[in-house]
Symmetry: C2
Subunit: 306 residues, 2 copies
């Protein structure tokens, strides 16, 4: 039977002021998934990495996505998947989204591209539901569409592709655990109207900056007065990384997803590399193991490579 | 001494989801102001309309703007102003902003354009302070820049010009009084985080729609879940106007400024005129006097006409 290999990228959701709505896809890190179409209506999962993820398809992020696709096709086919993850689960760089979106795109390729991108997002959201309890699309959307995406609304789903200037992204993943439950619980159900206004002023500025290729406007708009002040408390070194990165020339940045990874955007590669050095220094000093990526925005999203 | 005549347009602030940050300038209605440069450091005000506005420059919106400009120039000149307002004070269509921005642009023209647009906004905000107690720029900015503007931030002032597709605007001014104090008091100091997220998703969608010339996206994003549900209570006929206008083909709209005027955006003139008919019918039935404008977005802002 037919098989396909895809690369599914890491993504940054909760793009500073654009909490829950703006996200972007990265070139690095990415997962590699090989998917084979089979005749028997079953999902078989083989993990070729060290993350010990479940192989029971009902308990596996990719598995539930493939099951939902099988069900749409009246169970007249099955899938066999070999997964090689490089995006560490719990890093805040969209590990579950890469698994979910990756198999959705791969399955669609095997089936002759019968589904729209929006349908693929719908399938992939089943994986996010399993991973976090909530059907959200803020990592799935940039993973499938590439570039920078706006999830304007979830019900009904409304995804808007936003053009982005060439930007370098430096991401540091300090190897600590931030429990999603903690990251959620620390948020307040109510916020000040004046903070909300400042936030949507910044969201409008950030989106305008992306459309206008206006790096200064992007930089001024990369401010989060609602979520970051609360969640950054959970990430040791956050303030030092942010301050040091901006002093070194980064346009700005913040928490990737719900953390613990931190990302910074830069106009050029030299600055992005200096930002990486700043991040390294902070976590060396704190004695926390870390991983740093210097990469760019991935305009394509999930890519079929074989 | 030199003199100049300007037309200063009405403006719509609080553009639906863009409360406090997004506004646009109209072609109609507009005020006409003639300004003359004099040698004596005084401001003289002549009102040629029926609104009985103060002629004491310290108590007049245009007056305080001219005084602030005189002071910047070490009081080495004065101004004589003849004002002919067509934008009714208290209408919610930026009457005070037209007075404030109009004289700022006129004075700058007389002085050889020595000030930037941003400086003119700063001068004009003194007029808004007098009118409403708060230095705000959400009407001033579109009045001076034209088109659609974002006031990303007030301190420091950050105004972003946003390109707009060709849009028709229908505005109805029901001749009732909504006290600014009431319109403010009805707002809550705290809002639900989930509503704030929906609002900034819509703001991002609306701005993207403007940049992309995507009328459908503009229409979907013209939704206000924070301010309108509270303030629309103060405007009789609001729901009927909104529902009828959208059924007739309007893209959407909402409260103009803090009301009582209501505006609707349409793709073409025929729809904009049908929307006007809907508005007329609503206020005829309610027995409330009204005025309706069918106009377009004014890309220029305050215009020197003589």
């Amino acid at each position: 039977m037919k098989s396909v290999t895809i690369q599914s990228p890491g993504t940054i959701a909760n793009l500073v002021c654009g909490f829950d709505v703006l996200g972007l896809a990265l070139h690095d890190p990415y997962d590699t998934i090989a998917l084979r179409l089979t005749e028997k209506p079953e999902v078989k999962i083989i993990n070729e990495d060290d993350y010990d993820l479940p192989t029971d398809p009902q308990k596996n992020v990719s598995g539930v996505v493939l099951i939902s696709i099988m069900e749409r096709l009246n169970n007249n086919c099955g899938f066999e998947m070999i997964s090689h993850k490089k995006i560490k689960p719990g890093s805040g760089i969209g590990s579950s989204a890469a698994s979910a979106a990756g198999v959705a795109v791969a399955a669609n390729q095997l089936l002759g591209n019968i589904f729209t991108k929006e349908e693929l997002v719908q399938f992939a959201m089943n994986g996010e539901k399993l991973a976090s309890g909530v059907k959200h699309a803020d990592n799935i959307a940039p993973c499938i569409y590439g570039g920078i995406t706006l999830v304007r609304c979830i019900h009904p789903l409304d995804i808007v592709a936003i053009p982005a200037p060439h930007l370098f992204v430096t991401v540091v993943h300090p190897q600590i655990e931030v429990k999603t439950a903690d990251a959620r619980q620390i948020l307040r159900k109510e916020i000040q109207l004046k903070d909300a206004i400042r936030q949507w002023g910044n969201v409008a500025g950030l989106v305008s900056g992306f459309f206008k290729n206006d790096y200064e406007l992007i930089s001024r708009s990369l401010e989060d007065v609602v979520i970051e002040p609360l969640r950054s408390i959970l990430i040791p070194g956050f303030e030092e990384v942010k301050k040091g990165s901006k002093e070194t020339g980064a346009l700005g940045g913040g928490i990737s997803g719900s953390g613990p990874s931190i990302f910074m955007l830069s106009k050029d590669e030299a600055t992005a590399k200096q930002v990486a050095t700043v991040m390294q220094q902070v976590y060396e000093q704190l004695g926390i193991a870390y991983h740093v990526y210097v990469t760019t925005i991935n305009q394509q999203g999930v890519a079929v490579v074989g």
